[in-house]
């Protein structure tokens, strides 16, 4: 598409990148067809092509974001289905990220919005605060109907009924491989995930060790920065990311590191983009190196190879997290692994559509999120599975709060099939 930026505007690297992306879009509209919000709302403004247009207009005019543009950009899930679909390779992710930063800088949200966003940005990336918040939510839960804002209600409802105790596995340490050592990997133990569910990391560590990996929980690592990044809070996101880069590079330069393993695919997409995030920063080279080392757990497992398992009498509905299938273009590995160890794997119709979790989306846009959740659960349950597996904690929480069968992380099933314990969710439902 034609763009109208001045030379002065293009001197800003963010605008220059946006211009490059906008120029590559031919406005064909293919992306509208696979955008979840367009499916639900049917307004081009809530489609990728419409958002691209709104963003283009806002950036070209160089004006502060207006309420309408903010509304439609806020409704974007960042599921990146549009990037999978686009035949012209338009990098929507970098464009919308840039737009969010512009919005955060130039737009003053109504105070309730601001408060909610600040609270989320303050709480979610910090497991300690998160645990306190979950506890608070548990106490408020019976009174949630009195809350004045749908988003507050959504937050309280999302909190799990039981909060797991802190897992010592998440402390900085090194786990030796329990089979002949083949790799040394760092595990991103996450932030919100640790407070919500400790089984995923436990299963990941067991499985990796059993396959000959030395697993490092590096000192100084923390939230990957995705949560604040998607809210346009650039500085917060960058400092979280920088801490990780320092922590992992210290390991890489020290005892060595073959991969940074991530079992929350939402984080994986962000860590893999560190190179872009820091492209104009002194940390650029290190950031690019870490981005290159970042691997989803399913990629690492596919690379190492799992032993072939005998057929197990269990039908698993695999839910493809958007950050895996679109963000990282990892589509078949998780399913292949599950099949290899013996599960029967089924997939829902319209598997490209988001479940509506999308980081903080289910908290900030509860109505659209609820519609997407209902659609996803209906298509998943139509396959009559005994368990639903996903590679992302956000999806697990979202689906788990409505599914009639247990929802577990893919690694929990893989761990179980290769000698680990039965996943807790399956136990509880048994």
């Amino acid at each position: 598409m034609q763009t109208h930026f001045t030379e002065a505007q293009l001197a800003d690297p963010g605008v220059a990148r946006a211009n490059e992306i906008l120029r590559s879009c031919v406005h064909c509209g293919f992306c509208t067809a696979t955008c979840p919000t367009y499916q639900v709302l049917g307004d081009e403004l809530d489609s990728p092509r419409g958002r691209i247009y709104l963003i283009k207009d806002m950036l070209e005019a160089g004006r502060p974001a207006d309420a309408q543009t903010v509304k439609h950009v806020d409704r974007c899930l960042s599921c990146l289905s549009c990037m999978t679909t686009c035949p012209s390779g338009v990098h929507y992710m970098h464009l919308v990220d840039h737009a969010r930063v512009h919005i955060e800088k130039t737009y003053r949200r109504p105070w309730v919005d601001r408060m909610l966003r600040n609270v989320l940005a303050f709480v979610l990336p910090h497991p300690g605060r998160m645990r306190l918040a979950l506890l608070g939510a548990k106490i408020i839960r019976p009174f949630r109907r009195l809350l004045p804002d749908a988003r507050l209600r959504a937050m309280v409802e999302m909190a799990p009924k039981t909060i797991p105790p802190v897992s010592r596995n998440d402390d900085p340490q090194v786990f030796a491989a329990t089979a002949p050592r083949r790799m040394r990997v760092a595990l991103l133990t996450g932030c919100a995930q640790k407070a919500l569910n400790t089984d995923i990391n436990d299963a990941t560590i067991r499985l990796l060790r059993r396959l000959g990996c030395e697993v490092v929980v590096a000192k100084g690592q923390g939230c990957c920065g995705a949560l604040t990044h998607h809210m346009g809070k650039e500085d917060q996101a960058h400092s979280a990311a920088a801490a990780n880069i320092h922590a992992w590079m210290a390991e890489r330069r020290g005892a060595g590191l073959d991969a940074v393993v991530i079992n929350t695919s939402g984080c994986g997409t962000t860590v893999k983009d560190y190179g872009h995030m820091f492209r104009n920063d002194p940390l650029a080279a290190d950031a690019a190196e870490i981005a290159g080392l970042a691997k989803d757990i399913s990629e690492v497992l596919a690379q190492i190879g799992l032993p072939q398992g005998a057929p197990r009498e269990m039908r698993v509905a695999y839910h493809a997290a958007c950050s895996l299938q679109h963000g990282q273009q990892i589509k078949s590995a998780p399913k292949d692994l599950l099949k290899r160890v013996g599960y029967e794997v089924v997939e829902p119709a319209d598997s490209h559509l988001c479940c509506g979790s999308a980081g903080t989306y289910n908290l900030l846009q509860p109505e659209i999120s609820a519609q997407l959740k209902a659609r996803k659960l209906a298509t998943l349950e139509a396959k009559a599975p005994q368990v639903i597996a996903a590679g992302n904690i956000g999806c697990m929480m979202q689906l788990g709060s409505g599914a009639s069968v247990p929802v577990v992380h893919t690694v929990e099933l893989l761990d179980w099939a290769t000698g680990g314990p039965m996943p807790r969710a399956l136990h509880e439902s048994a």
């Binding site: 034609q2 031919v26 509209g29 992306c31 247009y53």
Partner: protein
Amino acid sequence: MDMPQPNARIIARKSSILALLSQVLPPDAVIGDPAETRAYECDALAAYRCQPLAVVLPRTTEEVSAVLRICHAEGVPVVPRGAGTSLAGGSMPTEDAVVMGLARMTRVIETDYENRFIHVETGRTNLSVTQAVEAEGFFYAPDPSSQLACAIGGNIGMNSGGAHCLKYGVTTNNLLGVRMVLMDGTVTTIGGPWDEPGSLDLLGVVCGSEGQLGVVTEAWLRILPKPEGARPVLVGFAENEVAGACVADIIRAGVLPVAIEFMDRPCIEATEAFAKAGYPDCEALLIIEVEGSEAEIAEQLAKIKEIALRHNPVEFREAQDEDQARRIWLGRKSAFGAMGQINDYMCLDGTIPVSSLPYVLRRIGEMSAEFGLGVGNVFHAGDGNMHPLILYNANKPGDLALCEAFGAEILKLCVEVGGCLTGEHGVGIEKRDLMVVQFAPVDLEAQMRVKDVFDPQWLLNPAKVFPLAVSAGRRDAVTTGPGASPRTPGIFEDRKCQA
């Protein structure tokens, strides 16, 4: 591109028009904020843009009718919009127009496998029609490359075709009936799932009428049982002429493949760089697909192979499995996206007799040098439908005008060799002024009289299809504004539109 002066009186009354629309539509279905209407200023021909007065997003035929009744009474032009993937600017608005987007009307109303039809709302996308019936082993045949996104309403508007239309025909050959709302709000049904012997072929008039006659809200479409199997072959040639001759020989031999697609060197190179489909390095290639039982496929492919080998191809590749078939189609399917990586493009759509293919390609090559703009050709070769993609730089002043001039010359060439201006993308705004090249004044007058009958005030999809000078008298004659030929408010009627 010249556009008529927008009606200042309408623009001045914007807020009262919005208020009227809001009486018949829910709040989320009326868009009037300029920050939001801008995204509706163009379709996939993004070089031409015009921000509309307002956008409405109805959910039912009743809402469509209510909106049209208001716009009719107020003299406000209306631009129907499906998915906005037109490459001819068909759904580009004018400043004084209300865009009527049908993307929320996506229901499947009925499927009847025994009688082989599906009844859908027209905002539904082309591909999702097939998806609705494929579990039962059926499909909807017309398959524009844009089928993932384009809507049935737009397909009917443009009488769209696709790669497989060589065998199955275009939209008009697969359309059984429509429910359509006229500009005055009247809801009418034309055709339907059952044959209507004896009546005038009004359906044929509506299909391809580019939103000039009414807003189609529902359609009955023919569905067909999926063929047992399909297999493509890829044939590479050292010269365009030879590839063209090969196509002509295949058609002459009476073989009917479902698709014969042609790509020239610039297109092959762009595609390879982008999609890495593993195409051979050659001047021209054909993708020929046949369908049927295993025996039928083998028989047709044997004939095609024999004909192709007579033309000394540099490569003959037969898909051995699903994956190879996918790879053969991959490059063709990525062609537009790949060209878009190189530069902005304008996609043309002329039709020529297959026999003049080599000559036309040579002339296009020469013109490309004269105009100094690159061009790649993808082409539904079986039915002579060309898609030259002219590359230009939208950010470079003067380039668009050059591109337009080049495009006009190509289309004139198509008419000159006995073809026509459009194969499947429609006239829209892009080819509007070239209509005089193909049609004599009496032809155009006859076409305009058809519009007079359906839309006497000329409010539907203004400034399209008919050259402005030719339609000026009609457009000026209609008095606009409140009180202009008001429609007698009647009961909501659903009547057969009969001649």
